[in-house]
Symmetry: C2
Subunit: 462 residues, 2 copies
Amino acid sequence: MATAKRALTSAFTDLAALFGERFSTAESVRSHHARGETFYPPHPPDAVVFAQSVDEVAHAVTICARERIPIVPYGVGSSLEGQVNALYGGVTIDLSQMNRVVRVSADDLDCTVEAGVTRKQLNSHLRDLGLFFPIDPGADASLGGMAATRASGTNAVRYGTLRENVLGLTVVTAEGKVIHTGGRARKSAAGYDLTRLFVGSEGTLGVLCEVTLRLYGLPEAIAAATCAFPSLEAAVRTVILIIQAGIPIARMELLDEVQVDACNRFSKLSMPLTPAVFFEFHGTKRGVDEQIEQVGEIAKEYGASDFRWAHKPEERSALWQARHDAYYAGMALRPGKRGWATDVCVPISALADNLLATKADIEANGLLAPIVGHVGDGNFHVSFIIDPDDPAEYGPAKAVNQRMIRRALASGGTCTGEHGIGFAKLGYLKEEHGEAVELMRAIKQALDPHHLMNPGKVIPPA
Amino acid sequence: MATAKRALTSAFTDLAALFGERFSTAESVRSHHARGETFYPPHPPDAVVFAQSVDEVAHAVTICARERIPIVPYGVGSSLEGQVNALYGGVTIDLSQMNRVVRVSADDLDCTVEAGVTRKQLNSHLRDLGLFFPIDPGADASLGGMAATRASGTNAVRYGTLRENVLGLTVVTAEGKVIHTGGRARKSAAGYDLTRLFVGSEGTLGVLCEVTLRLYGLPEAIAAATCAFPSLEAAVRTVILIIQAGIPIARMELLDEVQVDACNRFSKLSMPLTPAVFFEFHGTKRGVDEQIEQVGEIAKEYGASDFRWAHKPEERSALWQARHDAYYAGMALRPGKRGWATDVCVPISALADNLLATKADIEANGLLAPIVGHVGDGNFHVSFIIDPDDPAEYGPAKAVNQRMIRRALASGGTCTGEHGIGFAKLGYLKEEHGEAVELMRAIKQALDPHHLMNPGKVIPPA
């Protein structure tokens, strides 16, 4: 897949003419686009263009396709499994300047945004309208990137993931055509669900340029609390019972005691050094009171103590900011080391076994690796804080990750709940999906016959 | 696409050997499988096999694929847009004998069923476990057929459609391989979303043989009521406000006065002859009381009267049975005529305009065509009760349908919210999705290169 120098020269001439100063082959720019939030070695593209419209993306793709040059879509670079590494060089299309909120319909509870709008930017835009978009991965990711990775976050237990919340997309195809998938109706039975095919395709089938999203009215009442548990098992059992009872909880986040310690230090919290769960309740005033009562009863059965309520909006913001900073808090425990964040997701009945076995495995291997989880979904994360260049650290971490994934698969779960495959989890896709991977490969071949769209990602080599 | 007689003979020999008495070329059996619930002319297959296992389906498909014979999957034949008509003959695979509930996990709120299990059969199975599956198209459809058509029904406003409630599938591909898509985790970012590609593919990409579904705990409290409105507009405005207020209503079904009259006669109800809305509320006791209060206030603002409560479970069942029988009630208004049920779905802000314009169009054309709607989703149905062989009836109905669809598309809506494309709405797919249809075509070509899977459906001729 090495790109001929002549092809690059020809494409670069046209891209430079089209994008002017927004076309760059500068070392610093290429280096900035060489990887996301990963410890994996960088793979810089040969050039970067900063697109400002769907048409510009279409032109850039058309030029690259003509010369058979790889194309890597890039939002804000917060992906975790190597999604933006330009494994085969080529042109990275940076979408961060496509950051307009195209339209908001408060009546229909939906909006359309350009791919580079971040989740925080969107929520700032929405606040005065009494609306919000709930999906919140740790980083302030772009909504195009979130759609491409099928992202979720702390609110998914109640509001779903990007899978459930994207109504439609504007996509530039591998041949440079602009298409619109889905629509604005809440449901449709008209044709193949291209929207959900592109959601989670990680830029390998086309470039997501605009996203139409479901929105939600800000709840009448919100309450949030942290709660300490005597053991990880007690915390997980509480979570499982809350889900099984059908309580419409908005957020339910587990932190093991290592993560609690990290958050105490990094975010100046003062939680007891035990496993903790962060809860948030949305609803009417009476509904929230009722949920709190139900959850309180279940938690107490499992020995929970020290419920601390975040009453004011700014206290709630601080609480969730601490949760979103968990990854950085973990890294701060070992300054100079890197974080390696991995995630799995399992049926809720298998959550306790999977989580406890992983915790034991981390300890048995003497690794520093805080655990956090969107546990209401059966999804949990391990952040190995290691020196990836030291085989004595990387080797055991890799083995723990592999065992964690294989346990999840054996439980009917998935090798990634929300981080995606990128190139780092390619090896597990076939273990999880078996022969179905051949259908994915056939779809990739059909929509991107020259393998130019983010090559080397999602679909493992045949 | 005419199938050579020699090919049929060869395939039939092998199918007869495999299926024994469950292979049939009898006129009566072929005729029974010639169309669903439609007025369109019948298209019988050349033969029918009654499969009892995934392996049998795989064998049947392999044999047909070898001889390039079309394959039509068939559940219970309740589809409305010609999905099961064997347009090019071939072999219909009847899945109704694949009716085992494979497993239920009450802890995980999920289950796996064979494709032929019907929604009522599943709910009977679940009742003692305190669980239910909410999606309920009018007919007692098979869950395989419901997944294939991306069905929804009266509960979709709260619980979503099959799109949101299928976790995974077992599919026999066009070449006769058995694959498993999705899994049992609530969310996953691992690879392309084949599950949602097959959901709504109407048998054109493979045969859905097993479906893994989300389940829900039976609500602590349920309340249902009918309510009369002074006008269709008042009813629709009420619905819109309830949705915009974010009230988590479980069901909200509109009937125009023509449909109310039909239901009164057919189901022995005694509702006032005005537009009506059927409501259902799910939640905790207190939550339901609160929802009722909120909805009551909104409805009264729009002049609603005559709230009639269905207090006992059997009264509720009778109420919803009447709603599910609406189509048959409509047909009973003109004995000897056929029903032609069509549906569109629009953003909720456009619902009033779309619905009222269609109502006026029906009246202006002197047609008998009751309107019902899953209006919380922006979805409504028109059932033309006509003699389809009489151009004076069929012509105007066709024109009203076309104008209704074009208005929906102009509003950002869809040409079908839940009935699917079949062959009857092929002409509208391109109007709705434009160039994106070419991607659907490329996917069809990739997964079914010989166009054997339910040919002539979903994807319009190039």
